[in-house]
Point group: C2
Chain length 127, copies 2
């Protein structure tokens, strides 16, 4: 039963709505924590905890740039798993994920001209 060890770790990491949502967000591009904070409206510590689990499972990697830490997917093959899952599930309706908010103050955001930024308001649960 040892052959499963890694798979189990990854499946456990995936089996959580917040972490799935993070991975969906990172599908589009890498993102700093403040981005994700703005996107989801979660407490910073909560977000960090979830990122920690994803990191421990080897699913995401991080890169520090000054104040900000950028997260990216470390194992893009994981999306094949998620896609296959979507196929397998009598899916309610998997709405495409909301784009990033512009409320993040990281240099990457501030570098963009205001008109480039998306202003889509999304409703998320507050945690």
């Amino acid at each position: 039963m040892n052959e499963f060890r890694d798979e189990i770790t990854i499946l456990k990491a995936l089996a959580h709505p917040a972490r799935l949502a993070i991975l969906e967000a990172l599908r589009q591009s890498e993102a700093c924590v403040c981005h994700l904070e703005a996107l989801f409206g979660w407490r910073q510590a909560y977000l960090s905890q979830q990122l920690m689990v994803l990191r421990a499972a080897g699913l995401v990697a991080d890169r520090r740039e000054g104040w900000n830490v950028y997260y990216r997917v470390a194992r893009p093959e994981i999306y094949a798993v998620l896609d296959a899952l979507d196929q397998a599930v009598p899916n309610t309706e998997s709405l495409p994920h909301p784009a990033f908010l512009s409320s993040c103050a990281c240099p990457q955001c501030q570098g963009k001209s205001k008109s480039d930024r998306l202003t889509l308001q999304i409703e998320v649960e507050n945690r």
Copy 2:
């Protein structure tokens, strides 16, 4: 975050070595509980518990035939998920799964001629 509910249930069901093993066994064909018992060498109640979780997640279905209850995969698309996972993981070595033992007394087994049966002995953890 509601779109994930079903996926989460399924992922949780998958995130367990015994349940993954059961699904791998059922990949080949349906099997009665006694088969799986003989194959894995687990307690009957333990096996039944795991089957219950898989059933609750909608992953397997059962069919009663006299004394025996045969389990089969209810959502074959799930194997696409498992295959994708295998691809994604720096897999130790995913040994092909052992064939069924012949020690099961169900009619399906007894119907086979002795020479048809596999006698491969496998080592499994005893639970």
